[in-house]
């Protein structure tokens, strides 16, 4: 029994069976198959809840180890664990609908998250400054396209020359859109192929 559970084939078999149930449920409407597909979806939901516990244990282990060893920035690990503990206790004792729990979430988590999101613009400038350097023909074309896109949208572009807007939109709607569509088609085909390879046990690292 333990040999079967440890075998390489078992996870691939589970993956293949669940995938086939989901695929056939989309194409063939049989009540029994439909109920089987719904059940497998429920299983996925239950597994995700169980893995949340696995993740929480891994997180606790990692931070406790760091605190015990007094590694660099260990104080932040204390803060992380304290926050998890307080949120957990508040959620369990008062319920996630309670005002105290919501206050905690809305006034500590959300502002922090918004502050981090707001910082993205600075990262965008830093990355653009680093990335858009005319090193070769391709990067020079990229910079020219970027300048045209900027002049298309910036009010000053229209003031300088009315032709920036049509050129900018042509670049976006014709050149960029066609290139992106080619990538999307390739990705779609690649996705289906990767799924089939995983079902056949040919995708490295997935059940192997």
């Amino acid at each position: 029994m333990s040999n079967i559970l440890k075998s390489r084939e078992l996870p691939i078999l589970v993956l293949a069976v669940v995938s086939l149930i989901t695929i056939f449920d989309y194409y063939i409407k049989i009540p029994a198959l439909q109920s089987l597909a719904e059940n497998t979806n429920q299983f996925a939901y239950i597994i995700s809840i169980i893995t949340l516990g696995v993740g929480a244990i891994a997180l606790f282990e990692m931070h406790l180890k760091k605190i015990r060893a007094k590694k660099q920035d260990w104080i932040f690990s204390v803060w992380t664990l304290a926050m998890i503990f307080v949120t957990f206790v508040l959620g369990i004792s008062l319920g996630i609908e309670s005002g105290t729990y919501s206050y905690w979430f809305n006034n500590i988590y959300i502002p922090g998250r918004s502050a981090v999101a707001g910082m993205i613009v600075f990262f965008a400038y830093a990355v653009a400054f680093r990335g858009f350097k005319a090193r070769n023909l391709e990067s020079t074309l990229l910079i020219v396209a970027l300048i045209l896109a900027l002049l298309r949208d910036a009010p000053i572009g229209g003031v300088i020359w009315s032709g920036f807007a049509p050129i900018g939109y042509w670049l976006k709607d014709v050149i960029t859109a066609s290139a992106l569509r080619a990538i999307i088609v390739g990705t779609g085909i690649g996705g289906v192929a990767a799924g089939i390879r995983a079902m056949l046990g040919q995708e490295r690292g997935v059940g192997t």
Binding site: S48, G191, I196
Partner: protein
């Protein structure tokens, strides 16, 4: 055209895809080795991990922010295939590697993908408890994950940052944090969303389909390489359909266009 006809045709395509892949796998088993063009970012992974080992600095790998049971979970699975390869190379070159994750449902699968990489190289002892780190669970977005990676990179100073799978708004934060730490970033994106971020910030980018074939490409065995060839055949069919649709449209017949845009 009714929905039933559409489903029959797409199902037919799926079966065709299955048959082509099985056919090519059989050819691979018989020893046929197809010619596959070199994918620079995947070749660069080898070099970058070797460099990390020489510098005695760690390698970081992440399989993106999407849960494996979501619509974009396929990307995460493909990302894990690449991380399995990264783990193998890290074990081979004796480079310390750490892998981060922000979705609890991905954690057991990522643990297994990485652990099996070390085992495959005969170095299971290099796989430590903290080799795969569950950083955070964020149901709103991945901002906290991005911020956490910034701090982790400042502390660990990785020499290589491998970002595969699917990414969101935090991409720029992670790329810039890796740059600040002096790491080479090898990333992967599948089109519209994060492609510009990776093109502007990463040193090597796996574009769309390249990300999808990475797992099979790095395996380098004839069976995996042959399975990639099936995709090219399907692409030729799609190209043929596109050309046919274009010609039919010019002739005023819109049957194929209507069908493909259903």
């Amino acid at each position: 055209m009714n929905n039933m006809f559409y489903k029959i045709v797409t199902f037919g395509f799926l079966i065709l895809f299955f048959v082509l892949i099985l056919f090519n796998i059989q050819r691979g088993k018989e020893g046929f080795i197809p010619k596959i063009r070199k994918i620079a970012p995947l070749e660069a992974i080898n070099e970058a991990i070797g460099r990390a080992a020489e510098m005695n600095r760690p390698v970081h790998g992440a399989a993106g922010v999407y849960p494996i049971n979501s619509q974009w979970g396929g990307l995460t699975l493909v990302g894990m295939s690449i991380l399995n390869y990264v783990a193998r190379l890290s074990a081979r070159y004796n480079a310390r590697a750490f892998f981060t994750n922000m979705e609890s449902i991905n954690h057991p699968a990522l643990l297994e993908a990485v652990r099996s990489g070390y085992v495959a190289e005969g170095r299971p002892e290099l796989f430590k408890e903290d080799t795969v780190q569950f950083v955070i669970q964020d149901k709103v977005d991945a901002m906290a994950y991005g911020a956490a990676l910034g701090t982790i990179f400042d502390r660990e100073r990785p020499a290589v940052n491998i970002m595969v799978g699917g990414w969101e708004y935090e991409t720029l934060m992670v790329i810039q944090a890796a740059h600040r730490a002096g790491a080479v970033t090898i990333g992967g994106a599948i089109g519209v969303w994060r492609l510009p971020d990776f093109v502007a910030g990463a040193d090597y980018v796996l574009l769309g389909e390249e990300l999808m074939v990475a797992g099979a490409y790095v395996a380098k065995d004839p069976v995996s390489l042959c399975s990639i060839q099936s995709q090219d055949w399907i692409k030729f069919i799609v190209l043929g359909l596109s050309a046919l649709g274009f010609i039919l449209n010019l002739a005023g017949v819109h049957v194929l266009t209507d069908f493909l845009t259903m």
